[in-house]
């Protein structure tokens, strides 16, 4: 019996009036864990009861400790009838199971009821005593730390990065069980909340076991999702990156030296040169050569007219185990869908073989859910790889064997892997998975960035697994390294125009680069970045079953192509040449598909300047047409010029020796810009193209992006009109604002302390049935644009400010509804110093410094000025003024902080005698101006709220507004109870709203997650006072209560 859980109920406050006669409440509390329940005494006639109970002790297995939440129910005692429930609190005790996280949970929790919302608060104390367990075959994985953060957490050092871990568990959805017909909505909601809590506990435990098996002690970039498949069940799945982390002693400066060690399979690949990679048989079959054109994202259209989506996978069902009934329908679209029967079977066979060999399975996927890496880890980036597949859902027959869902994901991952291989890459970074479900159709998507990781790290990792404290002594690679192409120049997987790198001039770089990761800190950037979105609606006929699935999978490639074209156009319009944090979401509804691609556009100094956009008419004869074209052309050129100014894109004069190029860059864009400074590749690029064409089955839709220096849009084409329209309707961000969807905004690094995280939801009802694709597109685009405009307006008091990690989610909750959910954080920065990094400096010498700099402005000032003064910058092309200005500004930056900062971060709102800890929330992995001194554990909460009095609660807006505020408050309360003062890497994974205004009803499900942390102000050198402070606070909270 490895653990003792102790809980104490201290007091309640602000309880609702349960007895109308006395206007008071007779409250008592039930504390339940597993099957054991304790009760407190009834506290008669009080809205602020003081129970001050004894310690309730539960003696339990640590397996249960991981799976189960502690359930606290507050009830109103009724002598004559049944006791009325006031509400519940679920407390996840996982953080207490890890010695490095929290040691006690103590604080005020909102009492939550799924029908009435928050009804007062309760003060609870929870402790866990763990006994040492020497059982080697244990089922629990206590002690494995989980992080939502997709980088190495701030106060840790990665000793080893083991690689990909994934798991999923399935169950029946209580909402769809027969019993749901006879129980109350409240009981049904609570059953669901409890089940999901149990399932995610179980999932986390199972992933933890895998991590232990791999020899790791933590999961970084943990991404957990729910698939509410309706009738067919409930799937909870998670992916993450297993690591071995070492806690840095709090006093020492964070050191990010890392020793990466993915498992042997990728590592062995890494030992080979990238170009050979493709020919290496992995499953005993030559994947790359046979699986047609597995292409990176940018070459997507090559596969858009790929063979019928159904045929490829059909044989799979024959080969797979008997429980798989769904596999007969595995249409796959997206990249590389042009596979034929034989190859598909390969991975699947392998998969089935591997179900008995879990250890091997891990090596299957050299995937990393991380989006930012220790310096030097990322060698080359190939491009975005993604895969989608349309499935028909069927009831999960045996929840204990979630094979079908597993197989689906395995298939997709195999595809991703083969795409990466085709790009000459052995790993996928910034990897994520998602689903979109409508009735019985489900689109599974996965995407990531193909990359080559430092082979040296890996080799050494292979050789010296035992050596943990290995330090990487080589100077970090040049800041342009990751831009260099990983694939073979003579055997390009897709047409692209290569030039010599603008920084080092030694290696080839592509003309554009798309990735799903954050901008590497060492990257040299010109100007600022900005959010770029492509939005698309496509109508489809209503259909059922296979017909529906076919229709969807036929549409997908076209959507991806169009989204891609839009992104490309918008990128060029902003005069940028790369995208980071690319996330493409395709959402399915009954009669339409929505596509939304978001990314942060950046001008990478290493890549060539993008060409302009040229408008061409098909019928040059007509005068009026000519005129029309000229007008549009002018507008486009003006916009490009304006954007250049706005984002301060003034490429440094790198090729001072080459005046022609220099002119080219600064030339007015009315003329076609010579995209490549090196004339030679042009002919060859054509050569490659023909080469790739020959290997392609389809090349009709082949992209024009690679062919021409300037992007030509033919105006007669209706699509082109639409494109131009959507190009020009994007309103520029108002002055004082910047936006991006990545962790950090390229070009801004002097954050001040203002942080405002927010969630916004909009639902638009399409009014009439006769909508065209174009009309829909307009509506959808306006919806997104207006949301952004609203944010700028609401946050105008924070100017100058940047919206970071703008995360848009689209859904089609009902036939005529479009829902857009956005979570982001607005952060203030110091305007005077924004210039500093605009003309980015070459990498500073110490790699670890570089990373720190971007996160902590205060440290940066000292470091950057000194680094800049060193004559290390061998690479020219940095305007000289940078050095001087940065030095001056660094001095200023050390001056006293703005007023808001003068108070301690852990200041409590004390007002009217009581106090509430201020808890900051951010989707980023850091809070500007602060240092994280402790991670307290993962926050993963799932809530359901339902109402039968929608009108009375202010309509659906009022209902959701309250609910979101309640969710925030519950997250804050849990973090505060753990002793924390912030949530980092916060995200709202699900916000599913169902309404029925006619019945005056609505229901909403929200899932949020993040990492609870303690952070101190950057300037506070000694973290200890703050820790003791926390002890005081919790103590005082209890004192108050007693």
């Amino acid at each position: 019996m490895p653990g003792k859980l102790k809980a104490k109920i201290v007091a309640g406050r602000h309880l609702p009036v349960m007895d109308r006669a006395s206007d008071l409440t007779d409250a008592f509390v039930e504390v339940k864990f597993g099957n054991t329940t304790f009760k407190t005494d009834v506290c008669h006639k009080s809205l602020n009861p003081q129970w001050n109970s004894e310690w309730f002790k539960f003696e339990v297995d640590d397996e249960d400790l991981q799976d189960e939440p502690l359930q606290v129910t507050v009830l109103d005692h009724d002598t004559y009838s049944a006791n009325d429930a006031i509400g519940k609190v679920y407390i996840d005790i996982d953080p207490l199971l890890c010695s490095e996280a929290a040691s006690v949970i103590s604080g005020w929790f909102p009492i939550y009821d799924t029908i009435h919302g928050i009804r007062g608060e309760i003060n609870v104390l929870v402790k866990v005593e763990l006994f040492n367990d020497l059982n080697r075959f244990r089922q629990s994985s206590c002690g494995v730390k989980f992080f939502c953060t997709t980088s190495i957490p701030r106060c840790y050092r990665a000793v080893m990065v083991h690689g990909f871990v994934e798991e999923l568990v399935v169950n029946e959805d209580p909402e769809y069980q027969w019993i749901d017909r006879i129980r109350t909505p409240r009981a049904s909601n609570e059953a669901r909340q409890r089940l999901i809590s149990l399932m995610s506990g179980e999932l986390q435990r199972k992933i933890g076991l895998k991590v232990l098996e791999m020899g790791g002690n933590a999961v970084v970039g943990y991404l957990q999702c729910f698939d509410l498949e309706g009738e067919s069940g409930l799937v909870v799945r998670a992916i993450g990156t297993a690591c071995t982390l070492d806690k840095l002693s709090s006093g020492s400066a964070p050191n990010t030296n890392t020793h990466m060690h993915p498992n042997t399979a990728p590592a062995s690949n890494a030992c080979n040169s990238p170009s050979k990679d493709g020919k290496e048989p992995v499953f005993g079959e030559d994947l790359t050569s046979s699986s047609g054109p597995p292409t990176p994202f940018r070459a997507l259209p090559t596969t858009s007219s790929s063979p019928p989506p159904f045929s490829p996978s059909k044989p799979c069902s024959r080969q797979s185990s008997s429980s798989d009934t769904d596999l007969s329908l595995t249409p796959k679209t997206g990249m590389g869908s042009g596979g034929s029967v034989g190859k598909e079977a390969g991975p699947l066979k392998t998969l089935l073989r591997q179900q008995t060999q879990t250890a091997l399975e891990q090596r299957e996927f050299p995937f990393f859910t991380l989006t930012s890496f220790p310096p030097g880890f990322l060698v080359h980036v190939g491009g975005v790889v993604s895969a989608r597949s349309v499935k028909l859902l069927d009831r999960i027959h045996n929840p204990d064997e979630p094979e079908t869902r597993d197989a689906w994901w395995e298939e997709i991952r195999q595809e991703i892997k083969s795409h990466a291989k085709a790009l000459g890459c052995h790993a996928v970074v910034g990897y994520s998975e998602s689903t979109s479900i409508c009735e019985e159709v489900c689109i599974l998507s996965a995407s990531g960035t193909a990359a080559i990781l430092n082979p040296r790290y890996m080799r050494e990792g292979c050789l010296d697994i035992g050596i943990t404290d290995h330090r990487f002594e080589e100077p970090s690679p040049p800041s342009c390294g990751f831009c260099h192409i990983p694939y073979d120049e003579l055997n390009m997987p897709f047409p692209a125009q290569l030039t010599y790198c603008y920084l080092c001039r030694r290696q080839k770089v592509p003309d554009v680069l798309f990735t799903t990761i954050d901008l590497p800190p060492e990257a040299a950037v010109t100007g600022k970045g900005c959010l770029i979105q492509a939005r698309l609606c496509r109508l489809k006929k209503k259909a059922q079953g296979e017909v529906n699935a076919t229709a969807i999978s036929n549409l997908l490639p076209f959507m991806e192509y169009e989204l891609h074209t839009q992104l490309m156009n918008k990128l060029k319009l902003r005069s940028m040449n790369s995208l980071f944090g690319l996330h493409i979401q395709i959402s399915v509804g009954e009669n339409m598909l929505l596509g939304l691609a978001s990314a942060t556009g950046v001008y990478l100094t290493a890549l060539p300047a993008p060409g302009g956009i040229q408008i061409a008419g098909k019928t040059p004869g007509e005068l009026s047409n000519e005129h029309h074209i000229l007008t549009i052309q002018k507008r486009i050129n003006d916009t490009i010029a304006k954007n250049k100014e706005l984002y301060q894109i003034n490429p440094p004069k790198l090729f001072a020796l080459d005046p022609e190029v220099f002119c080219g860059i600064n030339m007015e864009l009315t003329e076609e810009v010579v995209g490549s400074p090196i004339p030679e590749p042009r002919q060859r690029s054509r050569l490659f193209r023909s080469h790739s064409e020959s290997s392609d089955e389809v090349s009709e839709l082949d992209l024009s992006h690679g062919k021409k220096d300037a992007f030509v849009l033919e105006i007669d084409d209706t699509d082109a009109v639409e494109d131009i329209h959507s190009l020009l309707t994007d309103a520029p961000t108002p002055t004082g604002f910047y936006s991006c969807n990545t962790e950090i905004m390229p070009g801004i690094n002097n954050w001040t302390s203002g942080v405002q995280m927010f969630t916004s939801v909009r639902v638009f009802r399409l009014s009439n049935a006769n909508l065209t694709n174009q009309g829909l597109n307009k509506i959808f685009t306006d919806l997104c644009e207006n949301l952004l405009k609203s944010f700028y307006f609401k946050l105008r008091s924070m100017i100058p400010c940047c919206l970071c990690q703008l995360n848009f989610t689209v859904a089609v909750p009902e036939e005529e509804l479009i829902q857009v959910t956005v979570t982001a954080v607005a952060m203030t920065f110091d305007k005077d110093q924004t210039q500093e990094k605009t003309a980015d400096k070459p990498p500073t010498k110490g790699g670890s410094e570089t990373e720190e700099q971007l996160q902590f402005p205060l440290e940066l000032c000292a470091d950057s000025s000194s680094a800049n003064c060193q004559p290390t910058s061998k690479i020219s092309g940095v305007p000289e003024s940078t050095n001087v200005s940065s030095r001056v500004s660094s001095l200023e930056r050390c001056s006293p902080l703005p007023e808001g900062r003068s108070r301690s971060l852990r200041s409590s709102r004390s007002f009217g005698g009581s106090s509430v800890t201020v808890v900051k929330m951010t989707p980023l992995s850091f809070l500007p101006g602060t240092r994280i001194i402790k991670y307290l554990g993962i926050i993963n909460m799932f809530f359901i709220r339902e109402t039968t009095s929608l009108r009375e609660e202010g309509g659906v807006s009022g209902f959701l507004h309250t609910f979101i505020a309640e969710v925030f408050s519950m997250v804050r309360a849990h973090v505060a109870a753990l002793g924390g003062n912030a949530v980092v890497s916060y995200s709202m994974k699900e916000c599913m709203l169902m309404e029925n205004p006619n019945k005056n009803q609505a229901q909403c499900l929200i899932n949020v997650s993040g990492d609870a942390v303690i952070c101190v102000r950057e300037t506070d050198q000694e973290p200890t006072p703050s820790t003791t402070n926390i002890g005081h606070t919790s103590a005082s909270a209890t004192d108050e209560a007693t």
Partner: protein, 364 residues
């Protein structure tokens, strides 16, 4: 665009003070949008009317959700639903409890009952305050009244503690509660020229001098809490006031008093003649007011009596404020020199308040 749903929720609750004021003033969402548009906020951030509408709706919803907490401000400090920085909380409360002087002037001294509430639309029409705002203000008065009505201890302190208001606002509320509790008549035509601040000052004087709480620690027999508070006037003191009648009933005393005052005033003011001739009348007026205060009815008429019996005669004789000050100072002090007048303490307690009330109420 017609939005089915449109919400924006910040981790730190976002509130625009301007919109808050519009909400408090009872503007509808559409009217508020118009006001904001006219205010030029649109240019600030290239916003459109849609954006403004959506923002206003969000804020109105937030305020409505907060309103429940504002009813018991101490809850706002330790609730968990909204994360609001302390200085914003203070602002929210202070503004919520702030009232229009024009409105309060209308209900001052009235019973805070349903009957009065029914008249709010008339008052609204008269004062130009929206009905919604009238209701909020009236409900605030009522709420504060209900809470402090039965509390021991100093009234202003009680209000400040329970409603977390600034000292100034707490004092104003104390005046409102005090007037409502004693039902002072303020609505008569003759009193129309007085502002709320005039009355609030007088209330402050009465509270700090004429109530039980004003005396300090209560005597033992007054321990029962109903007595030790300053919402009600000190009954014993009111009884003692009857003794002052001797000043006008005893002919010698009256003449003596008059000559003392006249000697002191002679040559110091132009209005000396009027003072001399009116002395007996004025003195009778003030002492009679004091003597009658045992009747609740006469307490209610306290201010109207001051105006009729003292302020009006003086005004018709064109006394200046300085004249009033001079006269009342000597009138008060001379009584101390009267050998046979034994009620010096009561006299001072009475005259101190009456003097300062009259100073405040005498507008040139």
């Amino acid at each position: 665009m017609t939005m089915e749903l449109d919400v924006f929720v910040g981790n730190t609750t976002i509130m625009d003070e301007e919109v808050y004021q519009l909400w408090l003033d009872g503007y509808t969402v559409n009217d508020a949008v118009k006001v904001r548009m006219d205010g030029g906020v649109m240019e600030e951030c290239e916003a459109s009317a849609d954006v403004l509408l959506s923002d206003t709706m969000d804020q109105y919803r937030t305020f409505q959700m907060c309103e429940r907490l504002l009813h018991s401000p101490s809850k706002l400090g330790n609730q968990l639903l909204f994360q609001i920085p302390p200085h914003r909380q203070a602002m929210l409360i202070e503004r919520y409890y702030t009232f229009d002087d024009a409105f309060v002037r209308e209900v001052l001294g009235k019973k805070l009952s349903k009957g009065t509430k029914k008249d709010l639309d008339d008052i609204g029409a008269k004062t130009g305050v929206t009905l919604k705002s009238c209701r909020r203000q009236f409900d605030n008065f009522k709420r504060v009244f209900k809470v402090v009505e039965e509390l021991k201890g100093p009234l202003v302190e009680n209000i400040r503690h329970h409603f977390l208001l600034s000292d100034k606002l707490a004092r104003d509320y104390a005046a409102i509660v005090f007037f409502a509790n004693n039902r002072f008549e303020t609505g008569k035509r003759k009193l129309q020229y007085l502002t709320f601040q005039d009355f609030a000052f007088c209330a402050g004087q009465l509270i700090s001098n004429w109530t039980v709480g004003a005396v300090g620690e209560p005597a033992d027999h007054q321990r029962s809490f109903r007595f030790y508070m300053d919402v009600d006037l000190d009954k014993e003191f009111l009884q003692e006031l009857k003794e002052l009648k001797v000043l006008i009933t005893d002919k010698d005393l009256l003449d003596q008093h008059k000559s003392l005052v006249c000697t002191a005033l002679r040559g110091k003011t132009k209005a000396f003649n009027e003072m001399e001739t009116n002395f007996k009348n004025l003195s009778r007026g003030l002492v009679n007011i004091a003597a009658k205060l045992t009747n609740t009815k006469d307490v209610r008429d306290f201010f109207i009596d001051l105006v009729e019996k003292f302020i009006e005669p003086c005004r018709s004789d064109r006394w200046t404020a300085a004249d009033i000050r001079l006269y009342l100072t000597h009138y008060n002090n001379s009584a101390h020199i009267l050998d046979t007048f034994k009620h010096q303490v009561v006299w001072d307690r009475y005259m101190g308040v009456v003097k300062s009330c009259i100073f405040k109420m005498y507008h040139d």
